[in-house]
C-alpha cells in the first residue's frame, strides 16, 4: 500500500468514526425533541382541522358533531372485536365507517396523510388514558 493510499484509508476511518460519534442512533438532543414534537403537533392540528371541517364526506357533517373533543372514540380500546362488523378491527376502520355512513363519503386509504392526521388528533385528545386493547 502506498503512503498516499494509507493516509487516505486512515482519513476515511477517522471520518467514519467521527460521523458515528455525532449521530448514534440512541442519542438525540433537546432540539431534536422539539423538532419532532413540532412535526407531530402540526399533523395533529391538521387532524383537528379535518375532524371539524365537514369535508371528509359529502354531506357537510363533521366528526365533532357526534364526537366533541373526539370523545366517545375510545382509541385506547383498538384493535378490538367490533360487534357490528363481526371481527377485530382497528381505529382507522371505524374512522372510515363514519366517513362512509353518517358522512356519506368515500373511505380514505390506510396510508392517506389525512388518516394519520385524524388518528394523531383522536389519540391526542385521549392522552394519558391507559391502553386497553379489546375493551368494549
Amino acid at each position: 500500500m502506498s503512503r498516499f493510499a494509507l493516509n487516505g484509508a486512515v482519513a476515511m476511518i477517522c471520518a467514519l468514526l467521527l460521523t458515528a460519534v455525532s449521530a448514534r442512533a440512541d442519542e438525540f438532543t433537546k432540539d431534536d425533541l422539539k423538532k419532532w414534537d413540532t412535526a407531530f403537533q402540526s399533523v395533529m392540528k391538521e387532524g383537528e382541522k379535518l375532524f371539524h371541517s365537514g369535508t371528509l364526506g359529502k354531506n357537510s357533517v363533521s366528526c365533532d358533531m357526534c364526537h366533541p373533543h373526539a370523545s366517545n372514540t375510545h382509541p385506547e380500546t383498538y384493535p378490538k372485536f367490533q360487534k357490528q362488523i363481526g371481527k377485530v378491527v382497528g381505529l382507522r376502520d371505524m374512522i372510515n365507517w363514519c366517513i362512509q355512513n353518517p358522512q356519506e363519503g368515500t373511505p380514505l386509504l390506510a396510508d392517506d396523510p389525512r388518516m394519520f392526521a385524524l388518528e394523531a388528533y383522536i389519540h391526542w385528545e385521549r392522552r394519558g388514558v391507559k391502553l386497553e386493547p379489546g375493551k368494549h
Binding site: 371539524h52 359529502k58 354531506n59 357537510s60 357533517v61 365533532d64 358533531m65 357526534c66 364526537h67 366533541p68 373533543h69 370523545s71 366517545n72 375510545h74 357490528q84 365507517w97 363514519c98 355512513n101 353518517p102 385528545e125 385521549r126 392522552r127 394519558g128 388514558v129
Partner: protein
C-alpha cells in the same frame, strides 16, 4: 316503549290506523300517585339540527329523526295538550333550514311552544325566528301551571357584535360545540328583569315550568352545557314551591335537583352527545343522580335519539318519559315530597346495566 316491542318494525308492518289503535303502553298517559290534582301531558321534541347541503338537498339522517318524532307524537293517545320544541331546529341558522324544519313540524296536530337554540340564533340574531316562528322569550299559563320560555343562549356583546367579520363566521364559530373560541351562554340582565316582573304576578305555590335551550345550571363549560348567569335565574325561581326546568342542547338524558328546582334534559332527534365524563382532559360537574342513557351504537342511525313527554300530575309531581328509539323507554319522576327525581327502573346502582357506563 316496553322492552321487547320493536316499534320501528311494528309501524312499518301496520297501517297507520291499526298502529294508532294498538299503541304500546309507553305512549299512553298513565295516571300515578294517589292524591288528586289536575293532570295533563305535553310532548317534547328538540335539537333537530336540520342541515342544508346545498339547494334543496338536506342531510337525510336529521330529516328522518324529526319526521319520526312528529309521527309518534301524532300517535299519542290521548293527545298531548301541546308540544314544546326545545331549540336548534336549524344547524347553521339559515332560512332554508328553518323553513325545511317548519315544513316537517307543520304535520303536528297539536300546537307548538317554541324555544330558540344557538343554532337558530347566531346567523341573524333571531330575526327570522321572530318573524316566522316565535318570540324569543315569553310566558303563558296552562291548567294552573305557569310556563316561562327563556332565551338562554345569549352571550357577551363583544363576542356577538365585534369579534367576527361576518354573520356566517359567527354562526360557524358558535355551531362548533368544542370551540376554544366559543363564548358561554347567558340569559343576561335585560331578560332577568323581565323574568322578575313576570314572576311577580305568580303565586308562590303555583307549579312553575321553565323552558330553556341550555341547562340553567353548570355542567361543563367547554361544551356550553352551561349558563353563565344560571345562579341569577335560580335566585328568581327560589321562592316558588315547585319549579321544573326543561331543556335541550345536551342531546341526552340528564337530570339534576338544586333546592326546589328540578332540571331535566331530553335527547335530540338528530344525534346523541357523549356525557362530559367521556372527555378525560377537563373536569366536569355532571350530576351524580343522572343514570346515563346507553352508550350509542353508531351503526343504528337513531340510537341515542328520541323525544319525550311530560306528565304534570297536579300536586303529585312531574313525570318525564324518555322515548329512546333503539332502547327501552325510561321514566324519571319527581314526586312531591321527594327531595330529588328518580328513574323508575335504574336509580338503584345495583339495577344499572353495562351500556350505561360511559368512559
Amino acid at each position: 316503549m316496553n322492552k321487547g316491542m320493536d316499534r320501528r318494525t311494528f309501524l312499518k308492518g301496520a297501517g297507520a290506523l291499526a298502529a294508532a289503535a294498538a299503541l304500546p303502553v309507553g305512549l299512553v298517559e298513565v295516571a300515578w300517585g294517589k292524591k288528586p290534582g289536575e293532570t295533563f301531558t305535553f310532548a317534547y321534541i328538540s335539537d333537530a339540527h336540520i342541515t342544508q347541503i346545498s339547494g334543496p338537498q338536506f342531510v337525510k339522517n336529521f330529516d328522518k329523526g324529526l319526521q319520526k318524532a312528529v309521527l309518534e307524537v301524532n300517535f299519542m293517545d290521548p293527545k298531548p295538550d301541546f308540544v314544546v320544541f326545545g331549540g336548534d331546529l336549524a344547524q347553521l341558522g339559515k332560512k332554508e333550514e328553518i323553513d325545511h324544519g317548519l315544513e316537517i313540524l307543520k304535520d303536528l296536530t297539536v300546537p307548538v311552544k317554541w324555544v330558540i337554540g344557538e343554532h337558530d340564533y347566531y346567523l341573524d340574531l333571531g330575526k327570522y325566528w321572530q318573524e316566522k316562528v316565535s318570540p324569543l322569550h315569553y310566558s303563558f299559563d296552562h291548567k294552573g301551571v305557569h310556563f316561562v320560555v327563556l332565551n338562554s343562549i345569549l352571550t357577551h356583546d363583544d363576542w356577538t357584535h365585534k369579534r367576527w367579520p361576518t354573520a356566517e363566521e359567527r354562526m360557524h364559530q358558535m355551531a362548533r360545540l368544542d370551540n376554544p373560541e366559543g363564548s358561554p351562554f347567558m340569559v343576561k340582565d335585560e331578560q332577568l328583569a323581565w323574568l322578575k316582573g313576570d314572576l311577580a304576578k305568580v303565586k308562590k305555590d303555583t307549579q312553575l315550568v321553565v323552558l330553556s335551550h341550555s341547562p340553567l345550571y353548570k355542567v361543563f363549560k367547554p361544551w356550553n352545557f352551561w349558563t353563565d348567569d344560571a345562579e341569577k335565574v335560580q335566585a328568581l325561581l327560589k321562592p316558588f314551591q315547585s319549579v321544573q326546568v326543561l331543556h335541550g342542547h345536551v342531546h341526552q338524558v340528564l337530570y339534576n335537583q338544586i333546592g326546589n328546582i328540578s332540571f331535566n334534559a331530553f335527547m335530540a332527534t338528530a344525534w346523541p352527545w357523549p356525557y362530559p365524563v367521556s372527555y378525560n382532559q377537563l373536569p366536569n360537574k355532571v350530576p351524580d343522580m343522572t343514570v346515563f342513557m346507553n352508550r350509542a351504537d353508531p351503526f343504528k342511525e337513531r340510537d341515542g335519539t328520541g323525544w319525550g313527554k311530560i306528565d304534570i300530575a297536579g300536586n303529585r309531581g312531574v313525570a318525564h318519559h324518555y322515548e329512546l328509539w333503539e332502547n327501552s323507554s325510561r321514566t324519571v319522576r319527581k314526586e312531591s315530597g321527594k327531595k330529588q327525581p328518580a328513574d323508575d327502573t335504574y336509580q338503584d346502582p345495583k339495577k344499572r346495566i353495562t351500556p350505561q357506563k360511559h368512559y
